[in-house]
């Protein structure tokens, strides 16, 4: 949950939220549509550069967050590279009694391409996540005219998440000092107790929060104050140069 904290303390927090979302989503789309190694590399370079230099995110933190999807990525890309067959069909084959594990050059190339593409996607997503507080992201969705009900729910859920997390953490600490996680059996029991208790608390809180909303004149529409943050000419020029560079890389080079 620290990503939220970094988003508020980033050097890019004051940038226009719509601009950042557009930049991230645009990068994502271009990366998966072009699907070229050099474009992925370029996007990784620019997006990580923005996060680390303009956003002033410590590089160790960034590296830590990049390892989160690593297990999934590694397993999946190995599966893309590797094939099982009854006869040795690949460029490199390992015999395992009944069948062969085949690896083709083509497969390795595809796996590497997918890996880089996924990394580029993550770097674009992180650029946005580490610089845009969730409230502003939801406001961008609101400007895109998503159903009001959905946006309102998102606003409320976002607020409630932190309340519940704090409560859950307090209960976990209380359980831990009482050896609630002493054994695996006890750990399961504690986990279930906390989860059950959290549910009761959350339902009770929901009742009270509705009263609080109603007392402030809530009639089915939540309004939030938004800061106006114009996009600077330099940012626009940078974005245009970046997109142009990607298109040139994708279209005019072999």
């Amino acid at each position: 949950m620290k990503i939220d904290y970094y988003a508020y303390h980033s050097g890019m927090t004051k940038w226009n939220a719509g601009f950042k979302v557009l930049l991230a989503v645009g990068t994502l789309l271009m990366v998966i549509i072009f699907n070229r190694v050099r474009i992925s590399l370029f996007a990784i370079l620019v997006m990580s550069g923005l996060t680390l230099i303009a956003g002033r995110l410590p590089i160790r933190t960034y590296a830590h967050y990049l390892t989160i999807p690593f297990a999934f990525m590694l397993l999946s890309s190995v599966m893309i590279a590797v094939d099982f067959a009854g006869t040795p069909k690949g460029d490199f084959n390992f015999s395992l009694c009944f069948f062969y594990v085949c690896v083709t050059r083509q497969g390795i190339a595809t796996a590497a391409q997918v890996l880089l593409k996924a990394f580029a996607g993550m770097s674009a997503l992180y650029m946005m996540a580490f610089s845009t507080p969730m409230g502003e992201f939801i406001c961008v969705l609101q400007n895109l005219h998503l159903p009001g009900l959905l946006v309102e729910l998102m606003h409320l859920i976002y607020r409630y998440i932190f309340i519940l997390l704090e409560t859950a953490e307090r209960m976990q600490t209380a359980a831990k000092v009482r050896l609630g996680y002493g054994s695996l059996r006890q750990g399961f029991r504690t986990f279930a107790g906390i989860a059950g208790n959290l549910f009761i608390l959350s339902m009770q809180k929901a009742e009270r929060y509705y009263d609080a909303l109603a007392a402030r004149g809530y009639d089915g529409k939540l309004e939030f104050l938004r800061e106006q943050r114009p996009v600077s000419a330099g940012q626009l020029a940078g974005a245009a140069a970046y997109i142009a560079a990607i298109i040139i890389l994708g279209r005019f080079t072999r």
Binding site: F72, L153, I161, G187, F188
Partner: protein, 246 residues
């Protein structure tokens, strides 16, 4: 603690101990950038009817009772927090519940689809699990397919008068397994195997994720039963208020 609860504890320790060697991974979110654009859009389109149905149902609920707004929002936050809490395991690895099966049992599949997609957006942005371009595919496997099966099994078991705890376990565990199967098929469609096509590739993905996902499904089932038991002893009125157990 009743005798029944004791037995469930005992069973849970036995299974958990047998399986505690492995769980290392999170619930299976397909990562950002992993799917080609056509599939990103296709899975999004597949989700649309379910989401529209969910929104219409929610609107109806809110029109009848405005107080439900904060209740449903809290439920969404609860599902998120449940999926963010670390499950205890001896190896010290970190694994999480999906929580959507639980939500399906409590709130039904249509509300779960909406809560699920919101939770997935938050997981992508706040926890770096999953992504925006893969949101459609992840929503289908985790917020629609899994919960639908969970809900179906729970309903079926109720009709067949199966023991409640057994049915909750089956519903949650099988829903989790189904999610993992759907994700594997989604990956296989995106990256079919050169020799055997989509089917062979799906088997490969199923195989490689099985060691982490099978125990996780069992653990998810056990925990869901334990949580429901905890709730039924403490939160009967709240459960009634959201329409569970009628």
């Amino acid at each position: 603690m009743t005798k029944l609860q004791k037995n469930v504890w005992k069973a849970s320790i036995a299974i958990a101990l047998a399986l505690s060697v492995c769980p290392v991974s999170n619930a299976m979110h397909i990562m950002e950038g992993f799917l080609p654009p056509a599939l990103c859009i296709a899975w999004g389109v597949v989700c649309l009817p379910f989401l529209v149905k969910g929104l219409i149902n929610l609107k109806k609920i809110f029109a009848e009772n405005r107080r439900a707004v904060t209740l449903v929002a809290m439920a969404g936050a609860y599902v998120f927090v449940l999926s963010a809490l670390k499950i205890p395991s001896v190896t010290g690895s970190c694994s999480h519940m999906t929580g959507t099966g639980f939500s399906a049992i409590l709130f039904g599949p249509s509300v779960t689809s909406i809560l699920g997609i919101i939770v997935l957006v938050f997981q992508a942005i706040l926890l770096a699990h999953g992504g925006l371009t893969t949101l459609g595919a992840n929503t289908f496997s985790m917020a629609i397919a899994g919960p639908l099966l969970t809900y179906g099994i729970f309903g079926l078991c109720k009709k067949l008068k199966v023991n409640k705890n057994v049915s909750i376990f089956l519903a949650a565990a099988l829903g989790d397994l189904f999610t993992y199967c759907v994700t594997s098929v989604q990956l296989a469609i995106a990256y079919p195997s050169a020799n055997g096509g989509v089917a062979a590739s799906a088997l490969e993905f199923l195989g490689v994720f099985a060691p982490t996902q099978l125990p996780l499904a069992v653990i998810e089932g056990i925990l869901t039963v334990l949580i429901m038991m905890a709730m039924e002893s403490y939160a009967r009125p709240e459960l009634k208020a959201i329409g569970y157990g009628r």
